[in-house]
Subunit: 242 residues, 2 copies
């Protein structure tokens, strides 16, 4: 099985063209989304842009929702990459600084890709549930793992503050724990709960901002976010210096 001897180039050509077309469809779709929101992702508009027929896209994606969920996969992965990179880049710094680095990367990415954020955290495909094994849930767990990294980094200081947490391992999805426990062997359930709550705090302000609900209340969402971060750092038992 596999390629006929010596024909790697030719068989590769078809595949390459196919990959390029697939990539172009996604690119155009992302551009449409960036300029007109998720609803602007239209098979006909994409095809128009590419000089094709809308039906040609069905050779690459079974359905529009399929295309959109592939986009979600890509975009969510990009977000996870961004925060992971910020985390890596802050390696060696003190815990408070690293928390700021992670959180800022999260918000900065969201502000730079508001439509991407909506794509991930809104539901552009109503009623859609990502397939359990797919890249999107994986990216979500990468984000959670990153947050668990924050919690783990801060845990030496934070632990006494969360002594009354009554979380147990059974309070978390096994698939999440499969990623988390090997990465952070000493981390107790309380710290995982802390990670999810940190997610909530960051997601809350950022999503209010992205969806415009802060606009009518404050012209300084930046300041608000950073004060929230300062308080978060304090709630982790870290010294507020950054």
């Amino acid at each position: 099985m596999g390629s006929t001897a010596g024909n790697k180039g030719t068989r590769g050509r078809r595949e390459r063209l196919r990959a390029e077309t697939t990539a172009e469809i996604k690119e155009v779709a992302l551009a449409l989304m960036a300029s007109g929101g998720p609803d602007a992702i239209t098979l006909r508009a994409i095809a128009r842009e590419m000089g094709m027929t809308a039906n040609a896209i069905y050779g690459y994606f079974a359905t529009r929702d399929d295309l959109v969920s592939t986009l979600i996969d890509d975009v969510y992965t990009a977000l996870a990459d961004a925060v992971d990179a910020a985390w890596q880049a802050s390696s060696g710094k003190d815990a408070a600084t690293r928390v700021h680095a992670w959180a800022d990367a999260f918000r900065d990415w969201a502000l730079a890709h508001p439509e991407g954020f909506r794509l991930i955290y809104g539901d552009p495909v109503p009623g859609y549930q990502a397939p359990p094994g797919g890249p999107a849930p994986d990216a979500a767990r990468r984000v959670c793992t990153g947050l668990a990294g924050l919690a783990a980094e801060a845990w030496p200081w934070a632990e006494p503050l969360y002594a009354d947490s009554d979380f147990t391992w059974s309070d978390f999805d096994p698939a999440l724990l499969d990623k988390l426990r090997p990465a952070f062997p000493g981390l107790p359930p309380a710290a995982v709960a802390l990670a999810l709550r940190i997610w909530g705090r960051l997601h809350g302000l950022v999503s209010l901002e992205i969806y415009g609900h802060l606009r009518g209340q404050t012209p300084s969402p930046d300041k608000l976010f950073h004060e929230e971060l300062a308080q978060l750092v304090r709630a982790l038992g870290l010294s507020p210096r950054a």
Copy 2:
């Protein structure tokens, strides 16, 4: 101008019928939304349900987006009513209990009306910005005012914890302050910032839950929310008893 003498009944009839039809359109639209999400709100489906033609609805709403934003107004107002009622009902209790009451009312409403929550905080009408004077921004400010009530209630204990806040009145929208400052005369800018941050914390976990992003991580979003609440109460300087 006004009604012809003695004809109040007849002129009132037209208006009553019109009001009833308007109400029925909204009812049917909400029912469609509840069963099939915001995208199920379709002029034709509404008309079908009502035994009318889709175009007849244009006599009541200028456009579909108009109808949807009217729904947003209504639903947001209902949410504001719900949290306000819980706040009133907890009057006299201690601050920690009242914080719990408000927050639980918020989350309970969201869980009871997930589509309504999505309608308010997602953006079913892409690119839509609520008219500045309309009911939706007003409801948003009612929610913020409620949150400021929490902050005000807790402020005697919380104040020393937020001494380093550098917020000033210019960091908030005048329309918000117009509602807030008369209601809570002694409240400093730091407390308003605190209110908005509390909003973020509550909104974060609830919206992650409503949009299903917590489902893959924990089977106990309840527990998570209540631990978050306990920590919030602690961060307000209140004793964690409830």
